[in-house]
Assembly symmetry: C2
Homo-oligomer: 334 residues x 2
């Protein structure tokens, strides 16, 4: 019997359709490896002139900007979805509303090495990437036009990556996006009713249930969520309640880097290095969400096609129960 | 300057990012043609035993069920996402909610000819497909457990089709899905404020503006919507206000078939036969939505990857303005 499960935060129903009995090997990995074209790669050291001028970079010694010998480098997106200069100019056109596409669109180049993937990097270097996320958030927070910053990663062509050199992206938006708003409202409603953070409740129940746990350390839990939209979806949650990623303590980044690395390695092992997206969910910049919102990371391997049913309903059909996917991921030998 | 546009019904913002200057030929068609494997196709005439027993079929003469010589045939999905037998058994598991996956999942085989695509079929035969949709909706409406029926089509592997023989799907659900609910609420809010249907307002403005029109006949308008999530997205709207697809008049199906055919042909011409989804948006079965809801069809060519940004925000980045895509589609020589 298929199972209809409800996400406790946003109320989205998911059909766990295990009748099809999908196993990891059913998700034939879409080929993400492409020819190594490092000579033309604008993200490789020595090619710094091919990107717009860098916003920041970590270098062992303080050197000139846009020189090689960096470990993490942040540059504006060459084809930005949004533009930094200008004003919003909100406008009605008859029935319709529009405004100028104001925002920041940056690229975080995670490594100088063209063939590295985030999963294989030493945890100290993953930590640096997390610090770069934080530093950019702190800086952009000063611009009062921005209300939300999204940090995300598209890995592999079918997950939307247009360059293979490992990188993440940051988009700062002048509005709080729909799906962030819905998540916040779900958290707020739970808090108003129970005076508890819903993600803290999820942590408590998932730790007790045990069968959706993928990995765990002192500061973080990695689980397959109860009502996952996608097969092998994972969430990484800080065990201590915290609304703002950018306010994390040093000790937390030191724990986040290894669990993120472990989650990606387990996924690579079980699903043969799939394309994936990861998305950092953190509080809007200027809202007081400290009591009811809890930042976290979502990891979505790109294994299935979103099709007519999903577009028509907002429901998702997932052929793998999270208890199944967590078991495969947890038991993978690294 | 990128344009931020708001969908007037659900309030979803879309970034029209025309800076990248995408043109139809930039959307390299993902190969949808696959080897013709008609001998093993369960949807071909003569192979009726390979599907579950038929629910209905149109045959020139009344013949035995599950025999060949049909023009349209409806069968249960062999791997249903939901199951018809049983009760919902709503349950709480700690924090989480679940119920049994009760529902109907049917396949509408649109043609006996394995190589036909809906776009190329004579309009009289497309009309038959529309009648089959209607007949199944009328029949399933009698089952009081169902609150919503979604009819959709996945064409091509990357759009989620698992069989190439042209078919649509029907899913009857025990709940009104999230995104249908949001659309209804948007329509209801507009009606409460203005005492007008928002889709009727859209029809009026798009007819006056003219630059988003793709095709038109006496009963229907095909437009590129003002805030499309996807490049070359199209909506087909009945010009006369109507909430329920299944209550359409015969004359309307006679007009819908040719405009649906024309929209698909224009899309095939401009985008070199892309994979696509189409989705019928009609009223929930037992709600009185007659005054404020307006049924319509959405057509989404599968040209881009939904990636981290979309999953994290519910916003969409669309590289083609609808005025541009409508011009390409409208001016294509068929």
């Amino acid at each position: 019997m298929p199972d209809l499960r409800r996400d406790p935060i946003v109320g989205r129903w998911v059909i766990i359709s295990t009748e099809r009995g999908a196993r990891p090997h059913d998700f034939v990995p879409v080929q993400t490896a492409r020819p190594v074209t490092a000579t033309l790669c604008p993200f490789c050291p020595g090619q710094e002139r091919l990107t717009p001028k860098e916003i920041m970079a970590y270098r062992p010694q303080p050197l000139q900007p846009n020189s090689p010998n960096w470990t993490v480098r942040v540059v504006p997106n060459k084809f930005p979805a949004l533009q930094v200069e200008g004003t919003l100019d909100r406008q009605g056109i008859g029935l319709y509303d529009r405004m100028n596409g104001i925002g920041a669109h940056e690229v975080i180049i995670e490594t100088p090495n063209h063939t590295d993937s985030l999963a294989d990097m030493p945890t100290k270097r993953i930590e640096d990437v997390l610090w770069a996320y934080r530093d950019r958030m702190i800086d952009l927070k000063k611009d009062v036009r921005f209300r939300y910053i999204l940090i995300f990663k598209n890995h592999g062509a079918v997950a939307g990556a247009t360059l293979e050199h490992s990188h993440s992206q940051l988009i700062a938006l002048p509005i709080i996006p729909t799906s962030v708003f819905e998540e916040l409202e779900g958290c707020r409603a739970h808090y108003e009713q129970k005076e508890r953070c819903i993600y803290c409740d999820i942590l408590r129940q998932d730790l007790a249930d045990g069968d959706r746990i993928v990995a765990e350390n002192h500061e973080f839990l990695c689980v397959a969520p109860y009502a996952p939209r996608f097969p092998f979806e994972m969430w990484i949650l800080p065990k201590r309640h915290a609304g703002y990623f950018e306010e994390s303590q040093k000790v937390q980044f030191e724990s986040l880097a290894p669990i993120l690395s472990e989650a990606l390695q387990r996924m690579d092992k079980v699903l043969a290095k799939p394309a994936y997206n990861f998305i950092l969910h953190s509080s809007p910049l200027h809202e007081k969400t400290g009591d009811f919102y809890h930042w976290h990371i979502e990891i979505i391997p790109k294994l299935t096609h979103v099709a007519g049913f999903e577009w028509g309903t907002g429901f998702y059909i997932n052929p793998v129960a999270p208890e199944e996917s967590a078991k495969f991921l947890r038991e993978a030998v690294l």
